[in-house]
């Protein structure tokens, strides 16, 4: 008896495996049968087989229930085709856009780097006071830090720049990196062939060695298996190939070849900043510990070398951050924006399901009366929601698959390191599944809960006569639409601000005329065109040949590309107080040939341009109006003298012979950086870029330019041939990207909110046909009826508008750092947004309003 009671208890526990419906209905009876059978046949075998029976039958019951729900859901969905398709499309747009943004985040933040043990790989940089991101490291500082530290396994410096590889008949500019020999061990990626650099390879006078990337080895050398020990000319020096790195290794970003730095502290001093640091933390050491130790060492260095250091400290960061730091704010704003779109989509689906629930309320009540539990009714809605979710997931993935490449087309090529990839992977698949399930559950929650709560009497009473029975449902629907409108306002406001920022920047005066201006980089072999006269002759020849091309208006040479390149040094003006390195303003130098200002169209405000005679005696310079204004306000700067570099270096004084208009440097956002110009003949071989102004309407001169230079000497490498307009357009790529995406999301949100508004209004009108019938029978005109409907939708729109504008005021301030020329609470933008929304909202309500006036009063009164 005791045993029987325990056996029964165990059986009852097992019954919990059954669905609750089945349990509620049958558990009492099934326990009786269990007891009876056990009594008749009290063997262990019988007992176990009965337990086993539950284990096998319970899953089948669950499956049966799910199948029933699914079949039922599919049947109702087939019956209500438009509503179903709308719901799926809406949800798909929400899921698709969210997935697209997640793909971006995944590619940048989550995918692993091609280096082992990413968590101990760090960047090390000197941090000037007031800066946030670590910068370059000076070579002697690096040597001291490397020898004195204990928290790093090893530490290396690198500088990414293009190198010219010279073959028999051509010269190719290839992105590469100069690296200290310790960099490869720090990164820890074994070579495909050969070896890494050794300490001997990195000595200043060592014979040049080179490591190739697999891509370069295959592309240019035909995957030659005997490439090791062969010699390649880099610049003018032959380099012995000692290794080939695998294709995924492109350190730091896109390099295809690596050379040892082979530098010393005389050539690379404590004030030369052009190299970055990468290091591996020692086992068990945290980034914070390494950073504080390196800061202490830096303090020592500063004490030992007071004249060559300023107030810098050291910052240690995860290696990934050098790529993600600049895109993180952008990414998070996009995530927030797309989150809003998804919420709007969910609100729409919820409304749709609520409407369907109302329409089915009688059927649901009857089901409830014959014994279907609350749970089963809720389950029905959840099943429907999940089916929507599945269909939307498939369609949404398609959208994302198209959207991501589209987004990538808005970014400049070679922007991101090669390890950043946006191809689909398991994480993205998991995300789509998770978002679809979450969205389905959220969307079906409200209808499921409210439907299961209603009772039979209310439902049977409900006809179009009573509008109060579904009062709470109607309030929920209105609330959701108001929320959708408010969220759309937020997105549209953000989009409007970004669009204005972008347009403001695009319209910015650059200080030059970028149309019809082509820029190119030229790298001649140093041994054939030695420094000094031979080089200057080449410069003159190139200018003459290019100027002779048909359609060319003028040509000039420079040490860099306008806007992009800048050689920054400090300036001291004669007669003005001597400033230490950290106080002196940063000046952008460009070395130019005569005709530069005319070619680039920078106005000469005072004095003259350089001539071919300006060289080393006397030393002359041209400054921009900003400097003239700052140091000699109200007087002419012509004849005054300035010197460049740290005051302690005692560089020679230059006399100002001209003042030119200001240009924007490095960024279009401000004129803050001053520009000065030096004549090319003061230097041995400074000219590496050429600017070519062509007549308007001329086809792309790139090919003609390349051909002409090749005809001078095919061993001169020509690279980065771009129009100035492309350069400017690319410099604005992130503003354009941001504005485009936010506009797309804003537009999407607007469409979704309009669809939601239409749905609610259409349903409300259909429920009030009886009321309208009475009104029309009592003499109300169709205009009055229309007004009634528009009033209702108008109040929804107004409520959403107010909520949205308040939200916009609160939230747009987070965009402040991205904006230009427009404040976060810019009134015209917000008013424009409101106007657009009101127009679209009223348009969406127009059709239901017209339908309301078409109601035949007799039918309406008779209808139930």
């Amino acid at each position: 008896m005791q045993r029987d009671a325990t056996a029964l208890r165990l059986f009852r526990c097992l019954l919990w495996l059954y669905p609750s419906e089945f349990r509620d209905h049958f558990s009492r009876e099934i326990c009786f049968v269990f007891a009876d059978r056990l009594h008749e046949q009290p063997t262990l075998g019988c007992l176990l087989s009965m337990y086993w029976g539950v284990l096998t039958e319970a899953p089948r019951e669950h499956y049966h229930m799910i199948r029933y729900d699914v079949v039922y859901a599919l049947r109702t969905m087939r019956r209500e085709k438009t509503a179903t398709l709308t719901a799926i499309l809406v949800l798909a747009l929400g899921i698709g856009s969210t997935t697209a943004i997640f793909t971006l985040a995944n590619g940048l933040l989550l995918r692993s780097l091609p280096y082992p043990h990413e968590e101990t790989l760090v960047t090390v940089g000197e941090l000037p006071p007031g800066a946030h991101s670590p910068g370059a490291v000076a070579f002697p500082n690096f040597l001291d830090m490397r020898s004195r530290n204990r928290s790093l396994q090893d530490f290396g410096l690198y500088t990414a720049r293009p190198f010219t590889i010279r073959g028999d008949m051509d010269a190719e500019r290839i992105p590469g990196a100069g690296v200290a020999y310790s960099v490869f061990p720090v990164l820890g990626v074994p070579p495909l062939m050969g070896r890494w650099f050794s300490a001997e390879d990195d000595r200043p006078k060592a014979p040049l060695t080179i490591i190739l990337s697999e891509g370069l080895w295959r592309r240019r050398y035909g995957a030659d298996m005997s490439i090791l020990q062969k010699s390649i000319v880099v610049g003018t020096e032959p380099a012995r190939v000692i290794g080939v790195m695998p294709a995924t290794f492109r350190f730091p970003d896109q390099a295809e070849l690596w050379l040892p730095l082979r530098t010393n502290t005389k050539d690379s001093t404590r004030t030369d900043y052009y190299m970055n640091g990468v290091a591996r933390l020692a086992p068990g050491v945290s980034m914070a510990q390494a950073q504080s130790e390196l800061c202490l060492i830096m303090d020592q260095i500063k004490r030992e070398n007071p004249k060559e250091t300023f107030e810098q400290t050291v910052k240690v960061e995860p290696f990934r951050m050098r790529t993600t730091r600049s895109v993180k704010p952008l990414l998070f704003t996009l995530i927030a924006a797309v989150g809003l779109v998804l919420l709007i989509a969910c609100a729409n689906i919820t409304n749709l399901l609520l409407v369907k629930a109302s329409a089915r309320s009688r059927e649901i009540a009857v089901r409830g009366a014959i014994g279907a539990s609350r749970l089963s009714i809720m389950r029905q809605f959840v099943a429907e929601g999940l089916i929507f979710g599945l269909a939307a997931a498939l369609l949404g993935s398609l959208f994302a698959g198209v959207a991501v490449p589209g987004m990538m087309r808005l970014t400049p090529p070679n922007l991101l390191p090669t390890w950043v990839g946006f191809a689909p992977d398991l994480r993205i698949l998991g995300f789509v599944i998770a978002v679809s399930i979450a969205a389905s559950l959220i969307a079906s929650a409200a209808p499921a809960i409210s439907s299961s709560r209603q009772n039979l009497v209310d439902a049977l009473k409900e006809g179009s006569r009573s509008t109060t029975a579904s009062g709470s449902k109607a309030r929920l629907r209105s609330g959701l639409v108001i929320a959708e409108v408010a969220m759309s306002i937020l997105l549209l406001a953000g989009a409007g601000l970004m669009i204005r920022t972008f347009l403001n920047l695009e319209r910015q005066q650059t200080g030059m005329r970028p149309e019809n201006l082509t820029s190119l980089v030229v790298s001649p072999p140093g041994n054939r065109y030695r420094d000094g006269d031979p080089f200057h002759q080449l410069t003159r020849r190139i200018r003459q040949e290019l100027a002779a091309l048909p359609g060319v208006v003028s040509v000039a040479g420079a040490s860099g590309t306008p806007i992009l390149d800048g050689w920054g040094r400090s300036l001291t003006a004669e007669g003005h107080p001597l400033l230490s390195l950290k106080d002196a303003p940063m000046i952008y130098h460009t070395v130019v040939t005569p005709g530069y200002f005319q070619t680039v169209a920078i106005p000469i405000l005072e004095g003259r341009d350089f001539t071919e005679d300006d060289a080393k005696d006397p030393l002359v310079t041209i400054v921009d109006a900003g400097i003239a204004r700052r140091y000699w306000p109200g007087q002419s700067a012509i004849g005054k003298r300035v010197r460049y570099g740290p005051p302690e270096y005692n560089e020679p004084w230059h006399t100002i012979v001209g003042v030119v208009g200001e240009v924007r440097n490095q960024t279009l956002r401000d004129y803050g950086n001053f520009s000065v110009y030096l004549p090319h003949r003061e230097f041995a071989s400074a000219i590496s870029s050429y600017l070519v102004r062509t007549q308007p309407g001329l086809a792309n001169p790139a090919a003609a330019i390349r051909a002409r230079i090749a005809s001078i000497d095919p061993s001169i490498a020509v690279s980065r041939v771009r129009t100035m307009q492309d350069i400017l357009r690319q410099s604005l790529w992130s503003e354009r990207f941001f504005a485009t995406l936010l506009a797309a999301f804003g537009g999407l949100a607007l469409v979704l909110a309009a669809v939601g508004l239409y749905g609610v209004m259409a349903y409300s009108v259909s429920r009030r046909t009886h009321e309208m019938g009475i009104r029309m029978a009592m003499g109300a005109s169709s205009g009055a009826i229309r007004r009634m409907v528009l009033q209702q939708s108008g109040s929804l729109i107004a409520a959403g508008l107010v909520l949205g504008l308040v939200g916009a005021f609160a939230v747009t301030r987070y965009l402040k750092s991205q904006l230009y020329g427009v404040s976060p609470t810019d009134l015209p933008t917000l008013l424009m947004t409101a106007a657009v929304l009101i127009a679209v909202g009223l348009a969406a309500s127009y059709v239901p309003a017209r339908r309301a006036t078409r109601v035949d009063p007799m039918t309406a009164l008779r209808a139930e």
Binding site: F22, H25, F26, R28, E29, I30, F32, V33, F34, D36, R37, S49, M50, W52, G53, V54, T56, E57, A58, R60, E61
Partner: protein
């Protein structure tokens, strides 16, 4: 309409009188000499299906004198269920006749 084997046995058991769950099992066991022994789970899964398809119906609980007068739920064959069971029985009859005709089973003498 395809009828599961277990389902048909249950319909047969209900053909002569209303029964509760255990009584159905006992009847089946008795008729088949203990060959067909359904577990409680299998039984009620089948009952659930038969209820859904409208072949049987549930009656109010009645005390069962054979089981200490405990209240048990009784099941009854519906007219539709009876029709289906008869059709299935006739189908099996025909099959049996065919089997005898082709010599699979010995002909009745």
């Amino acid at each position: 309409m395809a009828l599961g084997k277990d389902h048909f046995e249950i319909l047969v058991a209900l053909a002569d009188r209303d029964r509760h769950g255990y009584s159905i099992l006992q009847d089946i066991a008795a008729r088949t000499d203990g060959q067909v022994r359904l577990s409680p789970s299998t039984l009620y899964s089948a009952i659930r299906r038969l209820l859904e398809d409208g072949l049987i119906e549930e009656l109010d609980e009645r005390p069962d004198p054979e089981h200490d007068d405990e209240r048990r739920r009784y099941y009854r064959l519906t007219p539709h269920g009876r029709k289906i069971a008869v059709a299935e029985a006739r189908r099996l009859e025909r099959l049996l006749a065919d089997a005898r005709a082709t010599g699979l089973l010995p002909k009745r003498s």
